[in-house]
């Protein structure tokens, strides 16, 4: 069940970024932090690209196995599939709000609200996966299924690690975000440079 560990690990990375943005938005709203627009942009990019390119495709593989093994998870799988399909629209709305804030500082409240909505949605999405879908996966996938899916996930991790320069290195990006995020969230503040 290495696959579940990988998915859960990715959830923790995404949750860490959600937490960081929410915290920074509160600090900005309270006048205690100057907004670093590039850092916000990089964090939103992480949420979008990491989820869409690396995370959701692996989950879709897992959920397909579940669909083939039992009808028990039908309802939750349909719900998750819709949420995965809608994810690009949700993130687009967020990016739009950030672009508006970048163009006009008075649009801060709009971005903060858009992010709050996104964070609520994504948090619930993760909880549905971990509390409903994961137990079903543990229950219904056979040892042979896990062997296959674990192998697929390991191959995906290897192929898309970004260490070869062909794909984005999300691990390096995450470390850079931690470097730039203001303490106590990260090791900054320091300006985020592309």
């Amino acid at each position: 069940m290495e696959a579940l560990r990988i998915i859960s690990d990715e959830h923790q990375s995404l949750a860490g970024i959600l937490h960081a943005v929410r915290f920074m938005l509160k600090e900005v709203a309270a006048g205690r932090l100057e907004p670093d627009l590039k850092l916000f942009k990089a964090m939103v990019h992480y949420l979008e690209a990491y989820a869409e390119l690396r995370h959701h495709p692996k989950e879709d593989v897992l959920f397909k196995y579940l669909e083939q093994r039992t009808a028990e998870g039908k309802e939750v799988l349909e719900k998750l599939a819709v949420q995965h399909r809608e994810a690009p629209q949700r993130i687009a709305a967020l990016e739009q709000a950030l672009a508006a804030f970048t163009a006009d500082p008075s649009a801060f409240a709009g971005f903060a609200l858009a992010f709050e909505r996104y964070a609520d949605f994504y948090r619930n999405h993760i909880l549905i996966e971990e509390d409903i879908a994961f137990p079903l996966l543990r229950q219904h996938l056979s040892d042979a299924d896990w062997e296959t899916v674990d192998r697929e996930f390991r191959a995906e991790m290897q192929a898309n690690s970004g260490k070869d320069g062909k794909h984005e290195d999300f691990s390096a990006l995450f470390s850079k975000l931690v470097e730039c995020a203001p303490a106590p969230l990260g090791f900054g503040p320091r300006p985020f440079n592309d």
């Binding site: 560990r5 859960s8 923790q12 937490h19 915290f23 993760i126 995450f174 931690v178 106590p184 090791f187």
Partner: protein, 249 residues
């Protein structure tokens, strides 16, 4: 199967008449991350302290092939055991570099003169420490202090690194980074005994795990097995822990 760098058998620690740790047996294989998880007050820190020789104990501690009937902290350090305590215990008015050098003190006293090379290694793992090396440790944030505490322990070139609650009080973003570094240390061949209340994070990186409750080992197994054990999920990885992780702003 790797050989064990640490084997603890029937370790017990009492505070007066109260037994805080009772017949705990744990082992750490070479180059592995072994975690001890459990609730607050389970005896995790007491266990680490007793292994290190900071507390009187009964039982047997075998470290790097030799049995220590009565572990003594100075000897354990010389033999290659390093502890990063929960409170970091840095010297706030000293520079980051001086704090690091203190970590090599015992090794230097033994005649080793490789502390500058070791410091370079530490700076490679923690570039942030190099940037701030001439600043006082007291000016660092919580996450940076944790990095310095780990860096200082690495200056002793330990055969076994023991980490006591490295995630305590840190934001989720930094916790992720600290655990990434812990796995990097394993890749470099360091054996690690990790005591953590954050079971979710600890079980993600560990190879093997023990669950300590009320001073005794209640469960043990490969980390993967424990991650998927309904009892561990219910007690340590359930909804409450996830909500805490995702809602704590």
């Amino acid at each position: 199967m790797s050989k064990n760098v640490l084997e603890v058998k029937d370790l017990s620690v009492a505070y007066g008449k109260v037994e805080a740790v009772s017949k705990v047996s744990i082992a750490v294989g070479e180059g592995r991350i072994v975690t001890v998880i459990g609730p607050n007050g389970a005896g995790k820190t007491t266990t680490l302290s007793a292994i290190m020789g900071l507390l009187p104990s009964s039982g047997q501690v075998e470290f790097d092939g030799s049995i220590e009937q009565v572990p003594e902290v100075e000897r354990m350090v010389v033999r290659g055991m390093s502890l990063v305590p929960e409170k970091r215990e840095l010297f706030g008015t000293m520079t980051i570099e001086d704090n690091l050098l203190l970590g090599a003190f015992q090794r230097n006293r033994e005649g080793h003169r490789d502390h500058l090379e070791t410091m370079e290694d530490v700076y490679t793992i923690f570039p942030r420490l190099r940037e701030r090396r001439l600043q006082a440790a007291g000016t660092m944030s919580g996450g940076e202090r944790q990095m310095l505490a780990v860096g200082r322990a690495l200056m002793a070139k330990p055969k076994l690194l023991m980490l006591d609650e490295p995630s305590l009080g840190l934001a989720p973003l930094i916790v992720r980074e600290i655990f990434r570094i812990i796995t990097e240390l394993r890749r470099r061949g360091v054996s690690i005994l990790l005591v953590e209340q954050n079971a979710r994070a600890a079980l993600q990186v560990a190879d093997y795990a023990y669950v300590l409750e009320n001073g005794s080992v209640k469960m043990e197994g490969e980390a993967e097995q424990l991650r998927n054990d309904p009892r561990v999920i219910e007690s340590y990885l359930g909804l409450a822990s996830k909500h805490q992780e995702m809602l704590s702003t």
